[in-house]
């Protein structure tokens, strides 16, 4: 029997070293009465292993861009390839599958499920990715250990500090070995100590080869990246390498 919500793990092509390739991406929110052009033609290319920060004031379109990069939303027009797969034409079912296999999300407000343990939270994407149970458990434990939280396996998110919660969320984001780690204001809800702690985790992951895209207006975080893209009014206004 073909159960549609379980698909075989298939990481598709690797896009020849290109993680993200966007060609004239636009997004129009049409409420019926008014049309809002949130994105007015974005061309963007991110290579594997890059650490990119997307910055810009609120209302600039950076959240919209992040939603489209993360396949949480579809562009109105334009071409978007995620590690070699042309995802701009995909329907909701296939987008869910792409999110599962290729994107690891880290959110400002953590978005862990409060009623289950840290370990169960990390297992969650692997459930949707149809990873066998024993393999899931082992992988989740490894990731917790990597985040230095081996002793918090059975803890519920409410029993963890902000920094610990975000580490669990990062572990969850890494569970399916995604092509891109996508973080939206990952330090926004943290005190400065926990915040710089999380920044170190991102730097470390990038050193180990992870492709990271961070949307932020925290310049301390943005400076950790090796490329800063600034968005204003739905357009990329600057794209600079940092040292």
């Amino acid at each position: 029997m073909n159960i549609p919500f379980f698909r075989k793990k298939n990481n598709g092509g690797d896009g020849n070293g290109i993680a993200i390739s966007m060609d004239n991406i636009t997004k129009v929110y049409d409420t019926g009465k008014i049309k809002v052009d949130a994105l007015k033609g974005i061309d963007l290319s991110v290579k594997n292993g890059e650490f990119v920060a997307i910055v810009g004031p609120s209302g600039s379109g950076k959240s919209t861009l992040m939603n489209i990069i993360g396949c949480l939303d579809k562009s109105t027009d334009g071409k978007y390839e995620l590690s070699g797969e042309l995802v701009s034409g995909f329907d909701k079912e296939r987008l869910a599958d792409i999110r599962n296999r290729k994107i690891g999300f880290v959110f400002q407000n953590f978005n862990l499920l409060p009623q289950i343990t840290a370990l169960d939270n990390i297992e969650m994407p692997m459930i949707f990715g149809r990873v066998p149970s024993s393999e899931r458990k082992q992988k989740a434990r490894e990731l917790l250990a990597k985040m230095g939280l081996s002793d918090k396996e059975a803890a519920k998110p409410t029993e963890l500090s902000g920094g610990q919660t975000q580490r669990v969320a990062i572990a969850r984001a890494l569970a399916m070995d995604p092509k891109v780690l996508l973080a939206d204001e990952p330090t926004g809800n943290l005190d400065s100590t926990s915040g710089s702690d999380i920044l170190s985790v991102f730097s470390e992951l990038n050193d180990q080869g992870s492709t990271i895209i961070v949307v932020t207006h925290d310049m301390a975080l943005a400076r950790r990246a090796n490329r800063i893209i600034e968005i204003r009014d739905g357009r990329i206004v600057s794209d600079q390498k940092t040292n």
């Binding site: 919500f5 939303d73 079912e93 599958d97 999110r99 862990l112 499920l113 459930i127 990715g129």
Partner: protein
């Protein structure tokens, strides 16, 4: 953790945190299930009981009375008495193609002496086939009148169960002797208690039956009062009556279309009426029950709507992590179906309990015995399944169509 396990886990979480709400939801389904299955069970019980009572008179037989002609025929005026003899019955047996069996019934009241007691009893002289046609089943250790009884004009008698008690009290009547027309008759059998709600000459439980040959020999009667017959199949009773009227009309010179010469009561009509009436009645009961169940289903649907609303954020997070819309749909549908199944199981158990209590209440003669049969259980379960899926589908569809980016910020 497949969606089913996910749904079960969620359900238990709800049970813990939302005790009253979950209880009320489940109660709606329990109530609906009890109504539906109990109404169906009572409908079935009543039908079975009525059918059995109808069959007390006989299983789809025709009762015929030779009477008076109502049409002039071959120059003879109407109003002539028609008298049927044994020879005429033999002719019917020989010529009819549709007949299964036919028996004359001679009847009269006689004094019967049991020891020093004398009572007046309705006695019928009948043939062995009469017993089977009229559902006169002997109790263990006895028998009905048989062919040797007929051939040898034996003085044997088969008695009704109430009559047996009047005559002998608690003693076993079989083998005992009673005096009818001052001559001794041996009791060969007693009627098994049966339900009988219609009759043409008193209930069988109060009557006595002797061989027709003995009856005619003792009383000198030549013409049976009543003929009981039955076709090879129940739906052939109508043409069989026509056929018999034809055969006897030719022999006895009356118009075969004369309905009065031999009047008939075709009991199959009663069964057809019963089936039609009870069919409609049971359908009505079923619809009433189903309505109650649907109201329960609407309750589940409402609760699921609230649950989906409450879990919007969770749905968004799961979708962001790769849960497909179909997974979400399936998860919520499963939760609704589990609630429905749980309520349904409890409801069916309650219904069965009520039915078994009812069986002990001694109201069988009036309303029959309601039983939650396999048929009713399956019917109720499939309707439950339908209600559960319908109740869960729309909230689940709502959940599955959420935009993950929006839902997560909820």
């Amino acid at each position: 953790m497949t969606p089913v396990i996910d749904a079960v886990r969620q359900l238990f979480m709800d049970l813990r945190t939302q005790k009253l709400r979950t209880f009320l939801t489940t109660f709606g389904i329990v109530w609906g299930t009890v109504s539906l299955s109990l109404l169906l069970a009572f409908g079935d019980g009543l039908y079975t009981q009525m059918r059995r009572s109808f069959a007390g008179l006989g299983d789809r037989i025709v009762i015929a009375w030779p009477s008076r002609t109502s049409l002039p025929f071959e120059g003879i005026n109407k109003g002539r008495r028609i008298l049927v003899t044994e020879e005429d019955l033999d002719l019917v047996r020989k010529e009819s193609r549709l007949l299964l069996s036919i028996s004359p019934e001679y009847s009269s009241s006689f004094k019967v002496d049991i020891g020093k007691k004398t009572i007046l009893v309705d006695i019928s002289g009948v043939e062995p086939e009469f017993g089977e046609m009229r559902n006169l089943v002997p109790q263990k250790g006895g028998r009905f009148i048989n062919h040797p009884d007929m051939d040898e004009r034996r003085r044997v008698v088969f008695i009704g169960n109430d009559l047996a008690r009047d005559m002998f009290g608690e003693e076993d009547p079989v083998g005992k002797t009673v005096k009818i027309f001052s001559s001794p008759f041996t009791v060969v059998g007693v009627l098994v208690k049966k339900d009988q709600d219609s009759s043409y000459s008193g209930r069988d439980k109060d009557k006595a039956f002797i061989p027709a040959s003995t009856f005619t020999a003792v009383t000198g009667a030549k013409y049976p009062d009543i003929l009981i017959y039955k076709a090879k199949s129940p739906d052939m009773n109508q043409p069989l009556t026509e056929e018999i009227r034809g055969i006897l009309g030719k022999k006895l010179h009356f118009d075969p279309t004369d309905k009065e010469a031999i009047q008939v009561w075709d009991t199959t009509e009663m069964f057809v009426f019963l089936d039609t009436f009870m069919g409609a009645f049971r359908l009505f009961l079923g619809i009433v029950g189903l309505m109650t169940l649907i109201v329960g289903g609407i309750g589940v649907s409402n609760i699921m709507n609230v649950v989906v609303e409450e879990r919007t954020r969770e749905i968004g997070i799961k979708m962001a992590l790769g849960a497909t819309p179909r997974y979400v749909l399936f998860q919520f549908l499963t939760e609704a179906v589990i609630i429905t199944a749980l309520g349904g199981a409890i409801g069916l158990a309650i219904s069965s309990g009520i039915c078994s209590l009812f069986a002990k209440a001694g109201l069988e003669e009036f309303v029959g015995v309601p039983v939650v049969t396999l048929r009713i259980a399956i019917l109720t379960s499939s309707l439950l399944g339908f209600v559960g899926i319908m109740a869960g589908y729309f909230p689940a569809k709502d959940a599955a169509s959420k935009e993950p980016a929006v839902a997560m910020k909820f």
